[in-house]
Protein backbone atom coordinates (compact mmCIF):
# COMPACT_ATOMS: atom_id res chain seq x y z
CA UNK A 1 0.00 0.00 0.00
CA UNK A 2 1.49 3.27 -1.09
CA UNK A 3 1.44 6.02 1.45
CA UNK A 4 -1.41 8.44 1.27
CA UNK A 5 -1.40 12.14 1.93
CA UNK A 6 -5.13 12.39 2.17
CA UNK A 7 -5.96 11.99 5.82
CA UNK A 8 -9.58 12.66 6.75
CA UNK A 9 -10.33 15.51 9.11
CA UNK A 10 -11.43 13.52 12.16
CA UNK A 11 -12.55 16.58 14.12
CA UNK A 12 -14.81 17.80 11.35
CA UNK A 13 -16.29 14.34 10.85
CA UNK A 14 -16.94 13.94 14.57
CA UNK A 15 -18.68 17.32 14.79
CA UNK A 16 -20.76 16.55 11.74
CA UNK A 17 -21.73 13.14 13.06
CA UNK A 18 -22.73 14.69 16.39
CA UNK A 19 -24.85 17.31 14.63
CA UNK A 20 -26.68 14.70 12.60
CA UNK A 21 -27.19 12.57 15.66
CA UNK A 22 -28.71 15.56 17.46
CA UNK A 23 -31.05 16.26 14.54
CA UNK A 24 -32.22 12.65 14.64
CA UNK A 25 -32.58 12.79 18.41
CA UNK A 26 -34.63 15.98 18.40
CA UNK A 27 -36.79 14.60 15.63
CA UNK A 28 -37.51 11.37 17.48
CA UNK A 29 -38.19 13.16 20.75
CA UNK A 30 -40.46 15.58 18.93
CA UNK A 31 -42.55 12.83 17.36
CA UNK A 32 -42.82 10.96 20.66
CA UNK A 33 -43.89 14.06 22.60
CA UNK A 34 -46.46 15.11 20.01
CA UNK A 35 -47.99 11.67 19.68
CA UNK A 36 -48.09 11.30 23.43
CA UNK A 37 -49.62 14.73 23.99
CA UNK A 38 -52.29 14.27 21.38
CA UNK A 39 -53.29 10.76 22.37
CA UNK A 40 -53.32 11.54 26.09
CA UNK A 41 -54.99 14.86 26.36
CA UNK A 42 -56.66 15.75 23.15
CA UNK A 43 -59.92 14.81 21.57
CA UNK A 44 -58.51 15.55 18.18
CA UNK A 45 -57.99 12.43 16.17
CA UNK A 46 -54.24 12.71 16.45
CA UNK A 47 -53.62 9.79 14.14
CA UNK A 48 -55.22 11.65 11.27
CA UNK A 49 -53.30 14.85 11.93
CA UNK A 50 -49.96 13.15 12.13
CA UNK A 51 -50.74 11.11 9.07
CA UNK A 52 -51.62 14.19 7.05
CA UNK A 53 -48.60 16.09 8.36
CA UNK A 54 -46.28 13.26 7.44
CA UNK A 55 -47.90 12.96 4.03
CA UNK A 56 -47.54 16.66 3.27
CA UNK A 57 -44.06 16.83 4.79
CA UNK A 58 -42.85 13.86 2.78
CA UNK A 59 -44.49 15.30 -0.33
CA UNK A 60 -42.88 18.70 0.05
CA UNK A 61 -39.46 17.26 0.86
CA UNK A 62 -39.61 14.69 -1.90
CA UNK A 63 -40.72 17.27 -4.42
CA UNK A 64 -37.94 19.67 -3.58
CA UNK A 65 -35.48 16.78 -3.63
CA UNK A 66 -36.70 15.17 -6.83
CA UNK A 67 -36.93 18.40 -8.80
CA UNK A 68 -34.02 20.11 -7.03
CA UNK A 69 -32.14 20.54 -10.32
CA UNK A 70 -35.08 22.04 -12.18
CA UNK A 71 -36.12 24.28 -9.28
CA UNK A 72 -32.60 25.61 -8.76
CA UNK A 73 -31.95 26.13 -12.46
CA UNK A 74 -35.16 28.03 -13.05
CA UNK A 75 -34.73 30.10 -9.88
CA UNK A 76 -31.27 31.10 -11.07
CA UNK A 77 -32.48 31.54 -14.64
CA UNK A 78 -29.67 29.26 -15.78
CA UNK A 79 -29.40 27.41 -19.07
CA UNK A 80 -27.68 24.11 -19.72
CA UNK A 81 -24.72 24.39 -22.06
CA UNK A 82 -22.84 21.97 -24.30
CA UNK A 83 -19.13 22.27 -25.12
CA UNK A 84 -19.98 23.65 -28.58
CA UNK A 85 -21.88 26.61 -27.13
CA UNK A 86 -19.01 29.04 -27.17
CA UNK A 87 -15.61 29.51 -25.55
CA UNK A 88 -16.98 29.92 -21.99
CA UNK A 89 -18.93 26.68 -22.20
CA UNK A 90 -16.00 24.85 -23.78
CA UNK A 91 -13.69 25.96 -20.98
CA UNK A 92 -16.20 24.94 -18.33
CA UNK A 93 -16.68 21.52 -19.88
CA UNK A 94 -12.93 21.05 -20.24
CA UNK A 95 -12.32 21.73 -16.55
CA UNK A 96 -15.22 19.53 -15.45
CA UNK A 97 -14.13 16.68 -17.77
CA UNK A 98 -10.74 16.61 -16.13
CA UNK A 99 -12.11 16.80 -12.61
CA UNK A 100 -14.46 13.90 -13.35
CA UNK A 101 -11.57 11.82 -14.66
CA UNK A 102 -9.51 12.67 -11.57
CA UNK A 103 -12.32 11.89 -9.16
CA UNK A 104 -13.73 8.93 -11.09
CA UNK A 105 -17.26 10.24 -11.07
CA UNK A 106 -19.88 10.57 -13.82
CA UNK A 107 -20.01 13.91 -15.54
CA UNK A 108 -22.71 16.26 -14.28
CA UNK A 109 -24.64 18.53 -16.60
CA UNK A 110 -23.23 22.01 -16.90
CA UNK A 111 -25.19 25.26 -16.73
CA UNK A 112 -24.40 28.94 -16.90
CA UNK A 113 -26.54 31.51 -15.11
CA UNK A 114 -26.70 35.08 -16.32
CA UNK A 115 -25.75 37.92 -14.03
CA UNK A 116 -22.66 39.60 -12.76
CA UNK A 117 -22.76 38.13 -9.27
CA UNK A 118 -19.86 35.68 -9.03
CA UNK A 119 -21.21 32.42 -7.71
CA UNK A 120 -21.70 28.73 -8.36
CA UNK A 121 -23.94 25.94 -7.15
CA UNK A 122 -24.46 22.23 -7.62
CA UNK A 123 -27.74 20.44 -7.30
CA UNK A 124 -29.63 17.38 -8.42
CA UNK A 125 -30.82 14.31 -6.56
CA UNK A 126 -28.09 11.95 -7.77
CA UNK A 127 -24.74 12.25 -9.45
CA UNK A 128 -26.33 11.10 -12.71
CA UNK A 129 -28.74 14.02 -12.99
CA UNK A 130 -26.58 16.49 -11.10
CA UNK A 131 -26.09 19.98 -12.47
CA UNK A 132 -23.15 22.23 -11.80
CA UNK A 133 -23.97 25.85 -12.48
CA UNK A 134 -21.76 28.92 -12.47
CA UNK A 135 -22.64 32.53 -13.12
CA UNK A 136 -21.19 34.57 -15.93
CA UNK A 137 -19.73 36.88 -13.31
CA UNK A 138 -17.77 34.01 -11.84
CA UNK A 139 -16.39 32.96 -15.23
CA UNK A 140 -15.29 36.51 -15.91
CA UNK A 141 -13.54 37.07 -12.60
CA UNK A 142 -11.71 33.85 -11.87
CA UNK A 143 -8.68 32.49 -13.63
CA UNK A 144 -8.72 28.87 -14.64
CA UNK A 145 -7.06 27.53 -11.49
CA UNK A 146 -9.55 29.31 -9.28
CA UNK A 147 -12.44 28.20 -11.45
CA UNK A 148 -11.20 24.64 -11.14
CA UNK A 149 -11.12 25.02 -7.35
CA UNK A 150 -14.70 26.27 -7.27
CA UNK A 151 -15.90 23.50 -9.58
CA UNK A 152 -14.09 20.87 -7.50
CA UNK A 153 -15.91 22.23 -4.45
CA UNK A 154 -19.25 21.99 -6.24
CA UNK A 155 -18.55 18.49 -7.50
CA UNK A 156 -17.69 17.43 -3.98
CA UNK A 157 -21.19 18.53 -3.01
CA UNK A 158 -22.46 16.18 -5.70
CA UNK A 159 -20.22 13.34 -4.53
CA UNK A 160 -21.26 13.86 -0.91
CA UNK A 161 -24.93 13.78 -1.98
CA UNK A 162 -25.51 16.99 -0.10
CA UNK A 163 -28.88 17.62 -1.67
CA UNK A 164 -30.19 14.35 -0.23
CA UNK A 165 -28.53 14.84 3.15
CA UNK A 166 -29.80 18.40 3.57
CA UNK A 167 -33.30 17.42 2.41
CA UNK A 168 -33.52 14.70 5.03
CA UNK A 169 -32.12 17.03 7.68
CA UNK A 170 -34.58 19.77 6.74
CA UNK A 171 -37.43 17.28 6.97
CA UNK A 172 -37.38 17.73 10.76
CA UNK A 173 -38.05 21.45 10.53
CA UNK A 174 -40.76 21.00 7.92
CA UNK A 175 -42.50 18.36 10.02
CA UNK A 176 -42.35 20.48 13.15
CA UNK A 177 -43.90 23.43 11.38
CA UNK A 178 -46.60 21.34 9.70
CA UNK A 179 -47.60 19.40 12.82
CA UNK A 180 -47.96 22.57 14.81
CA UNK A 181 -50.07 24.17 12.15
CA UNK A 182 -52.33 21.15 11.68
CA UNK A 183 -52.78 20.59 15.38
CA UNK A 184 -53.66 24.23 15.81
CA UNK A 185 -56.22 24.33 13.03
CA UNK A 186 -57.87 21.05 13.89
CA UNK A 187 -58.26 22.11 17.51
CA UNK A 188 -59.72 25.39 16.40
CA UNK A 189 -62.14 24.14 13.81
CA UNK A 190 -62.62 20.41 14.15
CA UNK A 191 -61.78 19.58 17.73
CA UNK A 192 -64.11 22.07 19.36
CA UNK A 193 -67.24 20.62 17.80
CA UNK A 194 -66.49 17.05 18.73
CA UNK A 195 -65.30 18.08 22.16
CA UNK A 196 -68.66 19.56 23.03
CA UNK A 197 -70.31 16.25 22.35
CA UNK A 198 -68.05 14.39 24.74
CA UNK A 199 -68.11 17.00 27.47
CA UNK A 200 -65.17 16.63 29.87
CA UNK A 201 -62.33 17.10 27.38
CA UNK A 202 -63.10 20.73 26.76
CA UNK A 203 -60.95 22.15 29.57
CA UNK A 204 -57.90 20.31 28.25
CA UNK A 205 -58.27 21.40 24.66
CA UNK A 206 -56.80 24.88 24.85
CA UNK A 207 -53.71 24.13 27.01
CA UNK A 208 -52.86 21.16 24.80
CA UNK A 209 -52.88 23.37 21.74
CA UNK A 210 -50.58 25.77 23.52
CA UNK A 211 -48.21 23.01 24.60
CA UNK A 212 -48.13 21.57 21.09
CA UNK A 213 -47.44 25.01 19.70
CA UNK A 214 -44.69 25.61 22.20
CA UNK A 215 -43.06 22.25 21.54
CA UNK A 216 -43.30 22.85 17.82
CA UNK A 217 -41.74 26.29 18.01
CA UNK A 218 -38.89 25.11 20.23
CA UNK A 219 -38.21 22.12 17.99
CA UNK A 220 -38.33 24.31 14.94
CA UNK A 221 -35.82 26.75 16.44
CA UNK A 222 -33.47 23.97 17.51
CA UNK A 223 -33.70 22.17 14.18
CA UNK A 224 -33.13 25.42 12.31
CA UNK A 225 -29.87 26.02 14.15
CA UNK A 226 -28.79 22.40 13.78
CA UNK A 227 -29.49 22.37 10.05
CA UNK A 228 -27.51 25.55 9.56
CA UNK A 229 -24.68 24.05 11.58
CA UNK A 230 -24.78 20.91 9.45
CA UNK A 231 -24.79 23.03 6.31
CA UNK A 232 -21.63 24.82 7.45
CA UNK A 233 -19.91 21.51 8.13
CA UNK A 234 -20.92 20.22 4.69
CA UNK A 235 -19.38 23.33 3.15
CA UNK A 236 -16.11 22.76 4.98
CA UNK A 237 -16.16 19.14 3.82
CA UNK A 238 -16.73 20.17 0.22
CA UNK A 239 -13.89 22.70 0.50
CA UNK A 240 -11.64 19.98 1.82
CA UNK A 241 -12.53 17.32 -0.75
CA UNK A 242 -12.35 19.83 -3.56
CA UNK A 243 -8.93 21.09 -2.48
CA UNK A 244 -7.58 17.56 -2.14
CA UNK A 245 -8.95 16.61 -5.54
CA UNK A 246 -7.10 19.36 -7.36
CA UNK A 247 -4.15 19.45 -4.98
CA UNK A 248 -4.47 23.24 -5.02
CA UNK A 249 -6.05 24.47 -1.78
CA UNK A 250 -4.60 27.94 -2.31
CA UNK A 251 -6.37 28.36 -5.65
CA UNK A 252 -9.70 27.66 -3.93
CA UNK A 253 -8.79 30.07 -1.13
CA UNK A 254 -7.99 32.79 -3.62
CA UNK A 255 -11.29 32.17 -5.41
CA UNK A 256 -13.12 32.47 -2.10
CA UNK A 257 -11.48 35.78 -1.31
CA UNK A 258 -12.22 37.13 -4.77
CA UNK A 259 -15.84 36.03 -4.72
CA UNK A 260 -16.53 37.24 -1.19
CA UNK A 261 -15.02 40.66 -1.63
CA UNK A 262 -16.82 41.07 -4.92
CA UNK A 263 -20.18 40.12 -3.52
CA UNK A 264 -20.05 43.03 -1.12
CA UNK A 265 -20.04 45.45 -4.02
CA UNK A 266 -23.09 44.31 -5.93
CA UNK A 267 -26.56 45.83 -5.78
CA UNK A 268 -29.09 44.55 -3.27
CA UNK A 269 -31.72 43.60 -5.81
CA UNK A 270 -29.51 40.85 -7.13
CA UNK A 271 -28.80 39.62 -3.64
CA UNK A 272 -32.43 39.23 -2.72
CA UNK A 273 -33.25 37.48 -5.92
CA UNK A 274 -30.59 34.90 -5.19
CA UNK A 275 -31.36 34.31 -1.54
CA UNK A 276 -33.59 31.20 -1.75
CA UNK A 277 -30.72 29.31 -3.35
CA UNK A 278 -28.14 30.16 -0.73
CA UNK A 279 -27.87 26.72 0.81
CA UNK A 280 -26.33 25.36 -2.36
CA UNK A 281 -24.26 28.33 -3.36
CA UNK A 282 -20.51 28.42 -3.27
CA UNK A 283 -20.47 31.60 -1.19
CA UNK A 284 -23.78 32.91 0.06
CA UNK A 285 -24.93 36.24 -1.25
CA UNK A 286 -24.94 37.87 2.17
CA UNK A 287 -21.74 36.43 3.56
CA UNK A 288 -19.67 39.52 3.01
CA UNK A 289 -21.46 41.50 5.67
CA UNK A 290 -21.25 38.68 8.14
CA UNK A 291 -17.86 39.46 9.61
CA UNK A 292 -19.07 42.02 12.09
CA UNK A 293 -22.29 40.43 13.30
CA UNK A 294 -21.71 37.58 15.70
CA UNK A 295 -25.31 36.36 15.86
CA UNK A 296 -25.55 35.89 12.12
CA UNK A 297 -22.72 33.37 12.30
CA UNK A 298 -24.94 30.70 13.85
CA UNK A 299 -27.74 31.46 11.39
CA UNK A 300 -25.69 31.31 8.23
CA UNK A 301 -25.52 28.42 5.79
CA UNK A 302 -21.84 28.94 5.10
CA UNK A 303 -18.84 29.16 7.45
CA UNK A 304 -17.09 32.48 7.67
CA UNK A 305 -14.43 33.29 5.13
CA UNK A 306 -11.71 33.23 7.80
CA UNK A 307 -12.71 29.73 8.89
CA UNK A 308 -12.69 28.42 5.35
CA UNK A 309 -9.34 30.02 4.59
CA UNK A 310 -7.80 28.61 7.76
CA UNK A 311 -9.02 25.12 6.90
CA UNK A 312 -7.58 25.38 3.39
CA UNK A 313 -4.28 26.62 4.75
CA UNK A 314 -4.05 23.53 6.90
CA UNK A 315 -4.53 21.31 3.84
CA UNK A 316 -1.91 23.25 1.96
CA UNK A 317 0.63 22.66 4.72
CA UNK A 318 -0.29 18.98 4.82
CA UNK A 319 0.27 18.65 1.07
CA UNK A 320 3.71 20.23 1.03
CA UNK A 321 5.07 18.07 3.83
Amino acid sequence: MAKTRYATDKGLIARMGATMFLIGLVFTAFIIVIVWLLTQYSNVSSGGIIFIAILVGVGVSFGSYYWSDKIALSTAGARLVEPQDGPMAAELHGVIDRLCALADMPKPRVAIAPGDMPNAFATGRSSKVAVVCVTEGLLRRLDRNELEGVLAHEMSHVAHKDVAVMTIASFLGIMAALLVRFAFYSELFGGGGRGRGRGGNDQNALPVVLVVLLVGVVVYAISFLLIRLLSRYRELSADRSGALLTGQPSALASALVKVSSDIARIPTRDLRAAEPLNAFYFAPALSATQGQVTLSTIFSTHPSLEKRLAALEKISKQLSK
Binding site: A2, K3, T4, R5, Y6, T8, D9, I13, M16, G17, M20, P83, A90, G94, V95, D97, R98, C100, A101, L102, A103, D104, P106, K107, R144, N145, E148, S156, A159, H160, K161, D162, A164, V165, Y233, R234, S237, A238, R240, S241, L244, L245, T246, G247, Q248, P249, S250, A251, S316, L319, S320, K321
Partner: protein, 190 residues
Protein backbone atom coordinates in the same frame (compact mmCIF):
# COMPACT_ATOMS: atom_id res chain seq x y z
CA UNK B 1 -18.71 5.77 -1.85
CA UNK B 2 -20.41 4.04 0.99
CA UNK B 3 -23.32 5.35 3.01
CA UNK B 4 -21.03 6.37 5.83
CA UNK B 5 -18.88 8.46 3.48
CA UNK B 6 -22.00 10.22 2.23
CA UNK B 7 -23.27 10.89 5.74
CA UNK B 8 -19.93 12.22 6.90
CA UNK B 9 -19.26 14.16 3.73
CA UNK B 10 -15.87 12.76 2.93
CA UNK B 11 -14.40 11.53 -0.31
CA UNK B 12 -11.56 9.10 -0.41
CA UNK B 13 -9.16 10.00 -3.22
CA UNK B 14 -9.21 7.34 -5.88
CA UNK B 15 -5.94 5.43 -6.17
CA UNK B 16 -4.68 4.93 -9.71
CA UNK B 17 -4.54 1.54 -11.38
CA UNK B 18 -1.05 1.33 -12.85
CA UNK B 19 -0.54 -2.20 -14.13
CA UNK B 20 -3.05 -2.12 -16.98
CA UNK B 21 -0.58 0.07 -18.90
CA UNK B 22 1.51 -2.98 -19.76
CA UNK B 23 -1.25 -4.20 -22.05
CA UNK B 24 -0.41 -1.34 -24.42
CA UNK B 25 2.49 -2.90 -26.42
CA UNK B 26 0.41 -5.86 -27.53
CA UNK B 27 -2.55 -3.58 -28.25
CA UNK B 28 -0.31 -1.48 -30.47
CA UNK B 29 0.58 -4.59 -32.48
CA UNK B 30 -3.08 -5.54 -32.86
CA UNK B 31 -3.87 -2.02 -33.96
CA UNK B 32 -1.12 -2.06 -36.59
CA UNK B 33 -2.33 -5.41 -37.90
CA UNK B 34 -5.96 -4.34 -38.23
CA UNK B 35 -5.68 -0.67 -39.24
CA UNK B 36 -3.33 1.86 -40.80
CA UNK B 37 -2.40 3.36 -37.49
CA UNK B 38 1.22 3.05 -36.38
CA UNK B 39 2.70 4.28 -33.09
CA UNK B 40 4.47 7.62 -33.25
CA UNK B 41 6.77 6.62 -30.43
CA UNK B 42 5.44 9.41 -28.29
CA UNK B 43 3.54 8.92 -25.08
CA UNK B 44 2.60 11.25 -22.31
CA UNK B 45 1.50 11.17 -18.72
CA UNK B 46 -0.80 13.86 -17.43
CA UNK B 47 -1.25 14.80 -13.80
CA UNK B 48 -2.52 17.67 -11.73
CA UNK B 49 0.47 19.11 -9.91
CA UNK B 50 -0.22 19.68 -6.24
CA UNK B 51 1.04 22.88 -4.68
CA UNK B 52 4.05 22.83 -2.39
CA UNK B 53 7.59 21.61 -2.24
CA UNK B 54 6.83 17.92 -1.82
CA UNK B 55 5.29 17.62 -5.25
CA UNK B 56 7.79 19.74 -7.14
CA UNK B 57 10.61 17.66 -5.66
CA UNK B 58 9.05 14.47 -6.96
CA UNK B 59 8.40 16.10 -10.32
CA UNK B 60 12.06 17.01 -10.61
CA UNK B 61 13.21 13.53 -9.60
CA UNK B 62 11.03 12.00 -12.28
CA UNK B 63 12.44 14.26 -14.93
CA UNK B 64 16.00 13.49 -13.88
CA UNK B 65 15.27 9.78 -13.83
CA UNK B 66 13.83 9.76 -17.34
CA UNK B 67 16.44 11.96 -18.97
CA UNK B 68 19.20 9.70 -17.58
CA UNK B 69 18.08 6.95 -19.96
CA UNK B 70 19.66 6.13 -23.29
CA UNK B 71 20.15 8.83 -25.89
CA UNK B 72 17.44 7.64 -28.27
CA UNK B 73 14.70 8.62 -25.84
CA UNK B 74 13.82 12.10 -24.67
CA UNK B 75 11.50 13.59 -22.12
CA UNK B 76 9.87 16.96 -22.00
CA UNK B 77 7.63 18.70 -19.48
CA UNK B 78 4.81 20.97 -20.58
CA UNK B 79 1.82 22.48 -18.85
CA UNK B 80 -1.53 22.77 -20.61
CA UNK B 81 -3.98 25.62 -20.22
CA UNK B 82 -6.03 23.64 -17.70
CA UNK B 83 -3.15 23.58 -15.24
CA UNK B 84 -2.28 19.95 -15.84
CA UNK B 85 1.32 18.89 -16.28
CA UNK B 86 2.28 16.62 -19.16
CA UNK B 87 5.44 14.54 -19.25
CA UNK B 88 6.01 13.72 -22.88
CA UNK B 89 8.34 10.80 -23.58
CA UNK B 90 9.61 10.11 -27.06
CA UNK B 91 11.18 6.83 -28.10
CA UNK B 92 11.85 5.17 -31.43
CA UNK B 93 8.54 4.32 -33.09
CA UNK B 94 9.05 0.58 -32.65
CA UNK B 95 10.08 0.77 -29.01
CA UNK B 96 6.65 0.79 -27.43
CA UNK B 97 7.77 -1.37 -24.55
CA UNK B 98 10.53 1.04 -23.59
CA UNK B 99 8.06 3.89 -23.82
CA UNK B 100 5.52 2.18 -21.59
CA UNK B 101 8.24 1.37 -19.07
CA UNK B 102 9.17 5.04 -18.93
CA UNK B 103 5.56 6.10 -18.50
CA UNK B 104 5.16 3.55 -15.76
CA UNK B 105 8.23 4.95 -13.99
CA UNK B 106 6.52 8.33 -13.84
CA UNK B 107 3.42 6.82 -12.34
CA UNK B 108 5.15 4.76 -9.72
CA UNK B 109 7.29 7.71 -8.61
CA UNK B 110 4.19 9.84 -8.11
CA UNK B 111 2.39 7.04 -6.35
CA UNK B 112 5.33 6.28 -4.07
CA UNK B 113 5.36 9.96 -3.08
CA UNK B 114 1.70 9.72 -2.08
CA UNK B 115 0.45 11.65 -5.09
CA UNK B 116 -1.14 8.75 -6.98
CA UNK B 117 -4.57 10.43 -6.91
CA UNK B 118 -3.13 13.34 -8.90
CA UNK B 119 -2.67 11.15 -12.01
CA UNK B 120 -5.14 11.95 -14.77
CA UNK B 121 -4.38 9.93 -17.87
CA UNK B 122 -1.75 8.53 -20.17
CA UNK B 123 -1.89 8.92 -23.92
CA UNK B 124 -0.07 6.84 -26.50
CA UNK B 125 0.09 8.54 -29.90
CA UNK B 126 -0.67 6.88 -33.27
CA UNK B 127 -0.80 8.20 -36.80
CA UNK B 128 -1.94 6.73 -40.09
CA UNK B 129 -0.59 7.24 -43.60
CA UNK B 130 -2.90 10.18 -44.31
CA UNK B 131 -1.73 11.96 -41.17
CA UNK B 132 -4.84 11.37 -39.05
CA UNK B 133 -4.05 11.32 -35.39
CA UNK B 134 -5.21 8.83 -32.81
CA UNK B 135 -4.54 8.67 -29.10
CA UNK B 136 -5.13 5.70 -26.87
CA UNK B 137 -6.07 7.30 -23.59
CA UNK B 138 -5.71 5.43 -20.35
CA UNK B 139 -7.80 6.63 -17.41
CA UNK B 140 -5.93 5.85 -14.22
CA UNK B 141 -8.93 6.02 -11.95
CA UNK B 142 -11.12 3.78 -14.08
CA UNK B 143 -8.38 1.44 -15.21
CA UNK B 144 -9.82 1.64 -18.72
CA UNK B 145 -8.75 2.83 -22.15
CA UNK B 146 -10.56 4.71 -24.87
CA UNK B 147 -9.59 5.97 -28.33
CA UNK B 148 -9.48 9.68 -29.05
CA UNK B 149 -9.26 10.78 -32.68
CA UNK B 150 -9.05 14.57 -32.88
CA UNK B 151 -9.68 16.43 -36.12
CA UNK B 152 -9.13 20.02 -37.04
CA UNK B 153 -11.38 22.51 -35.28
CA UNK B 154 -11.96 20.55 -32.06
CA UNK B 155 -14.02 17.81 -33.65
CA UNK B 156 -13.55 14.13 -33.04
CA UNK B 157 -13.75 11.39 -35.59
CA UNK B 158 -16.30 9.21 -33.83
CA UNK B 159 -16.33 6.64 -36.63
CA UNK B 160 -12.61 5.94 -36.20
CA UNK B 161 -13.03 5.81 -32.43
CA UNK B 162 -15.81 3.23 -32.72
CA UNK B 163 -13.73 1.19 -35.15
CA UNK B 164 -10.76 1.22 -32.76
CA UNK B 165 -13.00 0.17 -29.93
CA UNK B 166 -14.00 -2.90 -31.89
CA UNK B 167 -10.42 -3.72 -32.89
CA UNK B 168 -8.96 -3.45 -29.39
CA UNK B 169 -11.85 -4.90 -27.41
CA UNK B 170 -9.92 -8.10 -26.72
CA UNK B 171 -6.57 -6.51 -25.88
CA UNK B 172 -7.58 -3.65 -23.64
CA UNK B 173 -10.31 -2.95 -21.17
CA UNK B 174 -12.21 -0.31 -23.12
CA UNK B 175 -14.20 2.23 -21.11
CA UNK B 176 -17.83 1.07 -21.50
CA UNK B 177 -19.39 4.43 -20.57
CA UNK B 178 -19.08 6.66 -23.64
CA UNK B 179 -19.81 9.64 -21.42
CA UNK B 180 -16.36 9.24 -19.94
CA UNK B 181 -14.46 9.39 -23.21
CA UNK B 182 -13.52 12.95 -22.46
CA UNK B 183 -11.72 14.87 -25.19
CA UNK B 184 -8.13 15.99 -24.60
CA UNK B 185 -7.78 18.74 -27.19
CA UNK B 186 -4.25 19.82 -27.82
CA UNK B 187 -2.78 17.15 -25.59
CA UNK B 188 1.01 17.37 -25.82
CA UNK B 189 2.53 14.45 -27.62
CA UNK B 190 -0.57 13.58 -29.60
Amino acid sequence: MGLLDVLLGRTKPVPPNLDALFALPSAAITLQAATDFVPTGTGSVSFRAAEGRAFSDIEKDVQDLLSMGEAKSSVEITADSYGFTWLVCTHAADDIEGLVTDLHAVNSSLEAGGFGPQLLCTILGFRDASGSRLGLVYLYKRGTFYPFAPQAGERRNNATEMQIRGVLGNDLKIEPDLGRWFPVWGAPGL
